[in-house]
Symmetry: C2
Subunit: 227 residues, 2 copies
Amino acid sequence: MVFSSRLIEEAVEAFSRLPGIGRKTALRLVLHLLKEAPDETHRLADAINRMRDEIHFCKICFNVSDAEVCSICSNPARRHDLICVVENIRDVMAIENTQQYTGVYHVLGGVISPLSGIGPDDLTIEPLVQRVAGGQVQEVIMAISPTVEGDTTLYYLSRKLSSYPVKLTTIARGIAFGGELEYADEMTLARSLTNRLPIESYLHTEALSPRPPQQSEETNELNTPER
Amino acid sequence: MVFSSRLIEEAVEAFSRLPGIGRKTALRLVLHLLKEAPDETHRLADAINRMRDEIHFCKICFNVSDAEVCSICSNPARRHDLICVVENIRDVMAIENTQQYTGVYHVLGGVISPLSGIGPDDLTIEPLVQRVAGGQVQEVIMAISPTVEGDTTLYYLSRKLSSYPVKLTTIARGIAFGGELEYADEMTLARSLTNRLPIESYLHTEALSPRPPQQSEETNELNTPER
Protein backbone atom coordinates (compact mmCIF):
# COMPACT_ATOMS: atom_id res chain seq x y z
CA MET A 1 0.00 0.00 0.00
CA VAL A 2 1.26 3.47 -0.89
CA PHE A 3 0.33 6.04 1.77
CA SER A 4 0.41 9.72 0.98
CA SER A 5 0.86 10.51 4.68
CA ARG A 6 3.33 9.16 7.22
CA LEU A 7 0.81 9.84 10.02
CA ILE A 8 -1.80 7.65 8.34
CA GLU A 9 0.80 4.97 7.74
CA GLU A 10 1.80 4.91 11.41
CA ALA A 11 -1.82 4.69 12.57
CA VAL A 12 -2.56 1.87 10.11
CA GLU A 13 0.57 0.09 11.28
CA ALA A 14 -0.48 0.38 14.96
CA PHE A 15 -4.04 -0.81 14.31
CA SER A 16 -2.92 -3.75 12.19
CA ARG A 17 -0.94 -5.13 15.14
CA LEU A 18 -4.23 -5.90 16.90
CA PRO A 19 -5.47 -9.48 16.56
CA GLY A 20 -7.78 -10.12 13.60
CA ILE A 21 -7.13 -6.73 12.03
CA GLY A 22 -5.26 -6.66 8.73
CA ARG A 23 -3.92 -3.63 6.90
CA LYS A 24 -7.09 -3.11 4.85
CA THR A 25 -9.33 -3.15 7.93
CA ALA A 26 -6.84 -0.92 9.76
CA LEU A 27 -7.02 1.61 6.92
CA ARG A 28 -10.82 1.52 7.05
CA LEU A 29 -10.74 2.25 10.80
CA VAL A 30 -8.23 5.09 10.37
CA LEU A 31 -10.22 6.73 7.57
CA HIS A 32 -13.36 6.38 9.69
CA LEU A 33 -11.66 8.18 12.59
CA LEU A 34 -10.54 10.94 10.20
CA LYS A 35 -14.14 11.50 9.17
CA GLU A 36 -15.50 11.57 12.73
CA ALA A 37 -15.33 14.56 15.04
CA PRO A 38 -11.89 14.93 16.68
CA ASP A 39 -13.50 14.41 20.12
CA GLU A 40 -14.54 10.91 19.13
CA THR A 41 -10.97 10.02 18.13
CA HIS A 42 -9.48 11.49 21.30
CA ARG A 43 -12.04 9.61 23.36
CA LEU A 44 -10.82 6.31 21.90
CA ALA A 45 -7.15 7.19 22.44
CA ASP A 46 -7.85 8.37 26.01
CA ALA A 47 -9.85 5.25 26.85
CA ILE A 48 -6.98 3.09 25.60
CA ASN A 49 -4.35 5.03 27.56
CA ARG A 50 -6.33 5.19 30.80
CA MET A 51 -7.32 1.54 30.59
CA ARG A 52 -3.63 0.60 30.30
CA ASP A 53 -2.28 2.99 32.92
CA GLU A 54 -4.92 2.87 35.62
CA ILE A 55 -6.02 -0.74 35.54
CA HIS A 56 -5.20 -2.95 38.51
CA PHE A 57 -5.14 -6.68 38.82
CA CYS A 58 -6.91 -7.68 42.03
CA LYS A 59 -4.21 -8.76 44.49
CA ILE A 60 -6.41 -11.59 45.75
CA CYS A 61 -7.93 -13.17 42.62
CA PHE A 62 -5.96 -11.46 39.77
CA ASN A 63 -9.12 -10.34 38.02
CA VAL A 64 -8.98 -6.90 36.34
CA SER A 65 -10.14 -4.24 38.72
CA ASP A 66 -10.37 -0.48 39.18
CA ALA A 67 -9.03 -0.80 42.76
CA GLU A 68 -6.43 -2.93 44.52
CA VAL A 69 -9.06 -5.48 45.46
CA CYS A 70 -11.78 -6.20 42.88
CA SER A 71 -15.48 -5.65 43.44
CA ILE A 72 -16.09 -9.39 43.72
CA CYS A 73 -13.41 -10.08 46.35
CA SER A 74 -14.48 -7.04 48.38
CA ASN A 75 -18.17 -7.97 48.31
CA PRO A 76 -19.17 -9.31 51.78
CA ALA A 77 -22.36 -10.86 50.32
CA ARG A 78 -20.36 -13.43 48.36
CA ARG A 79 -19.13 -16.78 49.70
CA HIS A 80 -15.40 -16.41 50.31
CA ASP A 81 -14.99 -20.09 51.13
CA LEU A 82 -15.86 -21.09 47.56
CA ILE A 83 -13.23 -20.37 44.86
CA CYS A 84 -13.82 -20.86 41.15
CA VAL A 85 -10.54 -21.27 39.25
CA VAL A 86 -10.67 -19.93 35.67
CA GLU A 87 -8.14 -19.35 32.90
CA ASN A 88 -8.82 -15.71 32.12
CA ILE A 89 -10.91 -12.58 32.65
CA ARG A 90 -13.32 -13.52 29.87
CA ASP A 91 -14.25 -16.71 31.77
CA VAL A 92 -15.06 -14.62 34.88
CA MET A 93 -17.39 -12.51 32.72
CA ALA A 94 -19.04 -15.61 31.24
CA ILE A 95 -19.73 -17.07 34.71
CA GLU A 96 -20.87 -13.70 36.13
CA ASN A 97 -23.32 -13.43 33.22
CA THR A 98 -25.08 -16.61 34.40
CA GLN A 99 -25.93 -14.78 37.68
CA GLN A 100 -25.82 -18.18 39.41
CA TYR A 101 -22.43 -18.14 41.10
CA THR A 102 -22.06 -16.49 44.49
CA GLY A 103 -18.50 -17.49 45.37
CA VAL A 104 -15.22 -15.76 44.46
CA TYR A 105 -12.71 -16.41 41.65
CA HIS A 106 -9.09 -17.10 41.01
CA VAL A 107 -7.78 -16.10 37.56
CA LEU A 108 -4.86 -18.33 36.52
CA GLY A 109 -3.81 -16.20 33.56
CA GLY A 110 -3.70 -19.18 31.20
CA VAL A 111 -3.11 -22.93 31.28
CA ILE A 112 0.08 -24.96 31.46
CA SER A 113 1.23 -25.36 27.87
CA PRO A 114 4.80 -26.57 27.34
CA LEU A 115 4.47 -26.03 23.57
CA SER A 116 3.82 -22.31 24.10
CA GLY A 117 6.46 -22.14 26.81
CA ILE A 118 3.94 -21.59 29.62
CA GLY A 119 4.90 -23.44 32.79
CA PRO A 120 3.26 -23.51 36.25
CA ASP A 121 5.43 -20.55 37.37
CA ASP A 122 3.94 -18.32 34.67
CA LEU A 123 0.48 -18.77 36.17
CA THR A 124 -0.95 -17.61 39.49
CA ILE A 125 -0.84 -21.13 40.94
CA GLU A 126 1.30 -20.32 44.00
CA PRO A 127 -1.05 -17.52 45.20
CA LEU A 128 -3.96 -19.98 44.83
CA VAL A 129 -2.17 -22.53 46.99
CA GLN A 130 -1.55 -19.75 49.56
CA ARG A 131 -5.26 -18.85 49.56
CA VAL A 132 -6.22 -22.47 50.15
CA ALA A 133 -3.47 -22.86 52.79
CA GLY A 134 -5.11 -19.98 54.68
CA GLY A 135 -7.67 -22.54 55.81
CA GLN A 136 -10.85 -20.54 55.11
CA VAL A 137 -11.59 -22.25 51.79
CA GLN A 138 -14.04 -25.15 51.71
CA GLU A 139 -14.29 -25.89 47.98
CA VAL A 140 -12.30 -25.15 44.84
CA ILE A 141 -14.24 -25.47 41.57
CA MET A 142 -12.04 -25.93 38.51
CA ALA A 143 -13.75 -24.19 35.58
CA ILE A 144 -10.98 -24.90 33.06
CA SER A 145 -11.49 -25.76 29.39
CA PRO A 146 -11.44 -29.56 28.77
CA THR A 147 -8.47 -29.44 26.39
CA VAL A 148 -5.21 -31.34 26.74
CA GLU A 149 -3.55 -28.26 28.29
CA GLY A 150 -6.58 -27.61 30.50
CA ASP A 151 -6.62 -31.18 31.76
CA THR A 152 -2.86 -31.00 32.44
CA THR A 153 -3.41 -27.84 34.49
CA LEU A 154 -6.33 -29.45 36.33
CA TYR A 155 -4.20 -32.47 37.19
CA TYR A 156 -1.31 -30.28 38.34
CA LEU A 157 -3.58 -28.15 40.53
CA SER A 158 -5.31 -31.17 42.09
CA ARG A 159 -1.87 -32.58 43.03
CA LYS A 160 -0.79 -29.23 44.52
CA LEU A 161 -3.99 -28.87 46.55
CA SER A 162 -4.44 -32.52 47.54
CA SER A 163 -2.69 -32.09 50.91
CA TYR A 164 -5.19 -29.46 52.12
CA PRO A 165 -8.61 -30.28 53.63
CA VAL A 166 -10.51 -28.75 50.72
CA LYS A 167 -13.13 -30.22 48.40
CA LEU A 168 -11.98 -30.21 44.76
CA THR A 169 -14.63 -30.20 42.04
CA THR A 170 -14.84 -29.42 38.34
CA ILE A 171 -17.71 -28.01 36.32
CA ALA A 172 -19.87 -30.74 34.76
CA ARG A 173 -19.01 -31.88 31.25
CA GLY A 174 -21.84 -33.13 29.12
CA ILE A 175 -24.31 -32.39 26.38
CA ALA A 176 -24.87 -28.63 26.11
CA PHE A 177 -28.39 -27.35 26.78
CA GLY A 178 -30.17 -27.29 23.42
CA GLY A 179 -27.57 -29.63 21.87
CA GLU A 180 -28.56 -32.76 20.01
CA LEU A 181 -27.18 -36.18 20.89
CA GLU A 182 -26.40 -37.20 17.32
CA TYR A 183 -24.04 -34.24 16.85
CA ALA A 184 -22.18 -34.67 20.15
CA ASP A 185 -18.63 -36.03 19.97
CA GLU A 186 -17.97 -39.54 21.35
CA MET A 187 -15.85 -38.29 24.28
CA THR A 188 -18.55 -35.94 25.55
CA LEU A 189 -21.32 -38.47 25.08
CA ALA A 190 -19.32 -41.27 26.74
CA ARG A 191 -18.51 -39.05 29.76
CA SER A 192 -22.13 -37.90 29.94
CA LEU A 193 -23.23 -41.52 30.23
CA THR A 194 -20.57 -42.38 32.80
CA ASN A 195 -21.31 -39.32 34.96
CA ARG A 196 -25.08 -39.59 34.55
CA LEU A 197 -27.26 -37.65 36.99
CA PRO A 198 -30.26 -38.78 39.01
CA ILE A 199 -33.39 -37.18 37.53
CA GLU A 200 -34.09 -35.22 40.77
CA SER A 201 -30.70 -33.56 40.53
CA TYR A 202 -31.40 -32.59 36.89
CA LEU A 203 -34.78 -31.10 37.79
CA HIS A 204 -33.19 -29.26 40.71
CA THR A 205 -30.64 -27.73 38.30
CA GLU A 206 -33.49 -26.69 36.03
CA ALA A 207 -35.11 -24.76 38.86
CA LEU A 208 -31.82 -22.94 39.50
CA SER A 209 -31.37 -21.96 35.85
CA PRO A 210 -31.36 -18.20 35.11
CA ARG A 211 -34.66 -18.47 33.28
CA PRO A 212 -37.42 -19.59 35.70
CA PRO A 213 -39.88 -22.22 34.32
CA GLN A 214 -42.83 -19.81 34.07
CA GLN A 215 -40.89 -17.32 32.03
CA SER A 216 -39.47 -20.13 29.92
CA GLU A 217 -43.01 -21.24 29.07
CA GLU A 218 -43.98 -17.69 28.19
CA THR A 219 -41.02 -17.43 25.87
CA ASN A 220 -42.06 -20.68 24.21
CA GLU A 221 -45.54 -19.31 23.66
CA LEU A 222 -44.08 -16.17 22.13
CA ASN A 223 -41.95 -18.25 19.80
CA THR A 224 -44.84 -20.42 18.65
CA PRO A 225 -47.82 -18.07 18.31
CA GLU A 226 -49.74 -20.67 16.27
CA ARG A 227 -50.42 -22.75 19.41
CA MET B 1 -21.93 -8.06 29.32
CA VAL B 2 -20.94 -7.59 32.96
CA PHE B 3 -17.59 -5.80 33.30
CA SER B 4 -15.68 -5.93 36.54
CA SER B 5 -13.89 -2.70 35.63
CA ARG B 6 -15.25 0.65 34.50
CA LEU B 7 -11.98 1.32 32.62
CA ILE B 8 -12.38 -1.84 30.58
CA GLU B 9 -16.01 -0.98 29.92
CA GLU B 10 -15.11 2.48 28.60
CA ALA B 11 -12.38 1.09 26.33
CA VAL B 12 -14.73 -1.59 24.96
CA GLU B 13 -17.38 1.08 24.41
CA ALA B 14 -14.92 3.29 22.48
CA PHE B 15 -13.64 0.44 20.32
CA SER B 16 -17.13 -0.82 19.49
CA ARG B 17 -17.99 2.54 17.93
CA LEU B 18 -15.59 1.75 15.09
CA PRO B 19 -17.18 0.31 11.95
CA GLY B 20 -17.37 -3.48 11.79
CA ILE B 21 -16.34 -3.92 15.44
CA GLY B 22 -18.93 -5.31 17.84
CA ARG B 23 -18.69 -5.53 21.62
CA LYS B 24 -17.19 -9.03 21.60
CA THR B 25 -14.45 -8.07 19.15
CA ALA B 26 -13.87 -4.85 21.10
CA LEU B 27 -13.39 -6.86 24.30
CA ARG B 28 -10.93 -9.14 22.52
CA LEU B 29 -8.91 -6.12 21.37
CA VAL B 30 -8.95 -4.57 24.84
CA LEU B 31 -7.83 -7.78 26.55
CA HIS B 32 -5.11 -8.15 23.92
CA LEU B 33 -3.83 -4.64 24.70
CA LEU B 34 -3.85 -5.47 28.43
CA LYS B 35 -1.60 -8.48 27.79
CA GLU B 36 0.87 -6.58 25.61
CA ALA B 37 3.63 -4.33 26.91
CA PRO B 38 2.32 -0.87 27.94
CA ASP B 39 4.54 0.72 25.23
CA GLU B 40 2.59 -1.09 22.54
CA THR B 41 -0.70 0.28 23.86
CA HIS B 42 0.62 3.83 24.18
CA ARG B 43 2.01 3.58 20.66
CA LEU B 44 -1.50 2.85 19.33
CA ALA B 45 -3.08 5.68 21.33
CA ASP B 46 -0.35 8.12 20.28
CA ALA B 47 -0.63 7.17 16.62
CA ILE B 48 -4.39 7.76 16.79
CA ASN B 49 -4.03 11.15 18.52
CA ARG B 50 -1.25 12.43 16.29
CA MET B 51 -2.97 11.22 13.13
CA ARG B 52 -6.06 13.20 14.14
CA ASP B 53 -4.32 16.35 15.36
CA GLU B 54 -1.49 16.76 12.88
CA ILE B 55 -3.06 15.60 9.64
CA HIS B 56 -3.65 18.15 6.89
CA PHE B 57 -5.87 17.99 3.88
CA CYS B 58 -3.90 19.23 0.85
CA LYS B 59 -5.25 22.72 0.03
CA ILE B 60 -5.03 21.96 -3.69
CA CYS B 61 -6.39 18.41 -4.12
CA PHE B 62 -7.89 17.66 -0.63
CA ASN B 63 -5.90 14.45 -0.29
CA VAL B 64 -4.60 13.64 3.22
CA SER B 65 -1.15 15.03 3.68
CA ASP B 66 1.54 15.69 6.28
CA ALA B 67 2.04 19.23 4.96
CA GLU B 68 -0.22 21.99 3.60
CA VAL B 69 0.34 20.75 0.06
CA CYS B 70 0.54 16.99 -0.45
CA SER B 71 3.54 15.14 -1.87
CA ILE B 72 1.73 14.55 -5.18
CA CYS B 73 0.72 18.18 -5.77
CA SER B 74 4.20 19.43 -4.81
CA ASN B 75 6.00 16.94 -7.08
CA PRO B 76 7.33 18.83 -10.16
CA ALA B 77 7.83 15.54 -12.04
CA ARG B 78 4.05 15.00 -12.28
CA ARG B 79 1.78 16.42 -14.98
CA HIS B 80 -0.16 19.27 -13.38
CA ASP B 81 -2.34 19.76 -16.48
CA LEU B 82 -3.95 16.34 -15.94
CA ILE B 83 -6.41 16.01 -13.01
CA CYS B 84 -7.96 12.72 -11.92
CA VAL B 85 -11.20 13.28 -9.96
CA VAL B 86 -11.86 10.59 -7.31
CA GLU B 87 -14.36 10.09 -4.51
CA ASN B 88 -11.99 9.48 -1.62
CA ILE B 89 -8.48 8.94 -0.31
CA ARG B 90 -8.71 5.19 -0.79
CA ASP B 91 -9.23 5.70 -4.54
CA VAL B 92 -6.06 7.81 -4.69
CA MET B 93 -4.18 4.94 -3.05
CA ALA B 94 -5.68 2.41 -5.48
CA ILE B 95 -4.63 4.47 -8.51
CA GLU B 96 -1.18 5.23 -7.05
CA ASN B 97 -0.69 1.49 -6.54
CA THR B 98 -0.98 0.91 -10.31
CA GLN B 99 2.15 3.10 -10.76
CA GLN B 100 0.74 4.10 -14.15
CA TYR B 101 -0.72 7.55 -13.47
CA THR B 102 1.57 10.57 -13.61
CA GLY B 103 -0.98 13.39 -13.25
CA VAL B 104 -2.45 14.95 -10.10
CA TYR B 105 -5.70 14.31 -8.23
CA HIS B 106 -8.79 16.01 -6.90
CA VAL B 107 -10.54 14.30 -3.97
CA LEU B 108 -14.28 15.08 -3.98
CA GLY B 109 -14.95 13.70 -0.50
CA GLY B 110 -17.89 11.60 -1.69
CA VAL B 111 -20.55 11.62 -4.37
CA ILE B 112 -23.81 13.53 -4.67
CA SER B 113 -26.40 11.45 -2.83
CA PRO B 114 -29.71 13.16 -2.00
CA LEU B 115 -30.80 10.09 0.01
CA SER B 116 -27.84 10.49 2.38
CA GLY B 117 -28.26 14.28 2.39
CA ILE B 118 -25.04 14.92 0.44
CA GLY B 119 -25.41 17.75 -2.05
CA PRO B 120 -22.88 19.39 -4.40
CA ASP B 121 -21.97 21.95 -1.69
CA ASP B 122 -20.80 19.18 0.66
CA LEU B 123 -18.17 18.12 -1.87
CA THR B 124 -15.05 19.92 -3.12
CA ILE B 125 -16.67 20.71 -6.48
CA GLU B 126 -16.22 24.48 -6.33
CA PRO B 127 -12.43 24.24 -5.71
CA LEU B 128 -12.22 21.86 -8.71
CA VAL B 129 -14.00 24.38 -10.92
CA GLN B 130 -11.55 27.04 -9.70
CA ARG B 131 -8.59 24.82 -10.57
CA VAL B 132 -9.95 24.27 -14.09
CA ALA B 133 -10.81 27.99 -14.43
CA GLY B 134 -7.12 28.72 -13.75
CA GLY B 135 -6.52 27.70 -17.35
CA GLN B 136 -3.54 25.37 -16.83
CA VAL B 137 -5.58 22.15 -16.95
CA GLN B 138 -5.83 20.24 -20.25
CA GLU B 139 -7.75 17.12 -19.19
CA VAL B 140 -9.98 16.04 -16.30
CA ILE B 141 -10.36 12.25 -15.87
CA MET B 142 -13.44 11.24 -13.86
CA ALA B 143 -12.52 8.10 -11.88
CA ILE B 144 -15.88 7.83 -10.10
CA SER B 145 -17.70 4.55 -9.29
CA PRO B 146 -20.35 3.69 -11.94
CA THR B 147 -23.25 3.75 -9.47
CA VAL B 148 -26.40 5.87 -9.71
CA GLU B 149 -24.90 8.45 -7.34
CA GLY B 150 -21.54 8.31 -9.13
CA ASP B 151 -23.18 8.87 -12.51
CA THR B 152 -25.21 11.78 -11.09
CA THR B 153 -21.98 13.36 -9.82
CA LEU B 154 -20.28 12.75 -13.18
CA TYR B 155 -23.16 14.43 -15.00
CA TYR B 156 -23.17 17.41 -12.58
CA LEU B 157 -19.41 17.87 -12.92
CA SER B 158 -19.49 17.66 -16.70
CA ARG B 159 -22.15 20.39 -16.76
CA LYS B 160 -20.13 22.59 -14.40
CA LEU B 161 -16.93 22.18 -16.44
CA SER B 162 -18.46 22.27 -19.92
CA SER B 163 -17.83 26.00 -20.40
CA TYR B 164 -14.05 25.64 -19.97
CA PRO B 165 -11.69 24.54 -22.76
CA VAL B 166 -10.79 21.28 -21.04
CA LYS B 167 -11.01 17.68 -22.24
CA LEU B 168 -13.35 15.60 -20.04
CA THR B 169 -12.81 11.83 -19.94
CA THR B 170 -13.85 8.95 -17.72
CA ILE B 171 -11.96 5.74 -16.90
CA ALA B 172 -12.91 2.87 -19.21
CA ARG B 173 -15.70 0.57 -18.11
CA GLY B 174 -15.55 -3.01 -19.32
CA ILE B 175 -14.71 -6.58 -18.51
CA ALA B 176 -12.15 -6.72 -15.71
CA PHE B 177 -8.78 -8.29 -16.49
CA GLY B 178 -9.07 -12.00 -15.68
CA GLY B 179 -12.88 -11.80 -15.67
CA GLU B 180 -15.01 -14.21 -17.66
CA LEU B 181 -17.63 -13.04 -20.15
CA GLU B 182 -20.34 -15.41 -18.95
CA TYR B 183 -20.28 -13.93 -15.44
CA ALA B 184 -20.27 -10.27 -16.51
CA ASP B 185 -23.50 -8.30 -15.99
CA GLU B 186 -25.45 -7.23 -19.09
CA MET B 187 -24.79 -3.52 -18.58
CA THR B 188 -21.02 -3.96 -18.47
CA LEU B 189 -20.99 -6.36 -21.40
CA ALA B 190 -23.23 -4.13 -23.52
CA ARG B 191 -21.06 -1.06 -22.83
CA SER B 192 -17.91 -3.07 -23.52
CA LEU B 193 -19.28 -3.95 -26.96
CA THR B 194 -20.39 -0.39 -27.73
CA ASN B 195 -17.07 1.12 -26.64
CA ARG B 196 -14.95 -1.59 -28.25
CA LEU B 197 -11.24 -0.92 -28.79
CA PRO B 198 -9.09 -1.42 -31.86
CA ILE B 199 -6.74 -4.35 -31.25
CA GLU B 200 -3.62 -2.15 -31.50
CA SER B 201 -4.89 0.00 -28.66
CA TYR B 202 -5.49 -3.11 -26.53
CA LEU B 203 -1.99 -4.45 -27.22
CA HIS B 204 -0.56 -1.03 -26.43
CA THR B 205 -2.34 -1.09 -23.06
CA GLU B 206 -0.89 -4.55 -22.41
CA ALA B 207 2.65 -3.27 -22.92
CA LEU B 208 1.98 -0.51 -20.38
CA SER B 209 0.68 -2.91 -17.72
CA PRO B 210 2.72 -3.12 -14.47
CA ARG B 211 3.74 -6.72 -15.19
CA PRO B 212 5.77 -6.96 -18.44
CA PRO B 213 5.01 -9.96 -20.75
CA GLN B 214 8.29 -11.79 -20.05
CA GLN B 215 7.74 -11.77 -16.31
CA SER B 216 4.14 -12.88 -16.82
CA GLU B 217 5.38 -15.94 -18.72
CA GLU B 218 7.88 -16.71 -15.98
CA THR B 219 5.10 -16.57 -13.38
CA ASN B 220 3.05 -18.97 -15.46
CA GLU B 221 5.95 -21.38 -15.59
CA LEU B 222 6.37 -21.15 -11.83
CA ASN B 223 2.71 -21.89 -11.33
CA THR B 224 2.77 -24.95 -13.60
CA PRO B 225 6.03 -26.74 -12.78
CA GLU B 226 4.83 -29.97 -14.45
CA ARG B 227 5.38 -28.44 -17.89
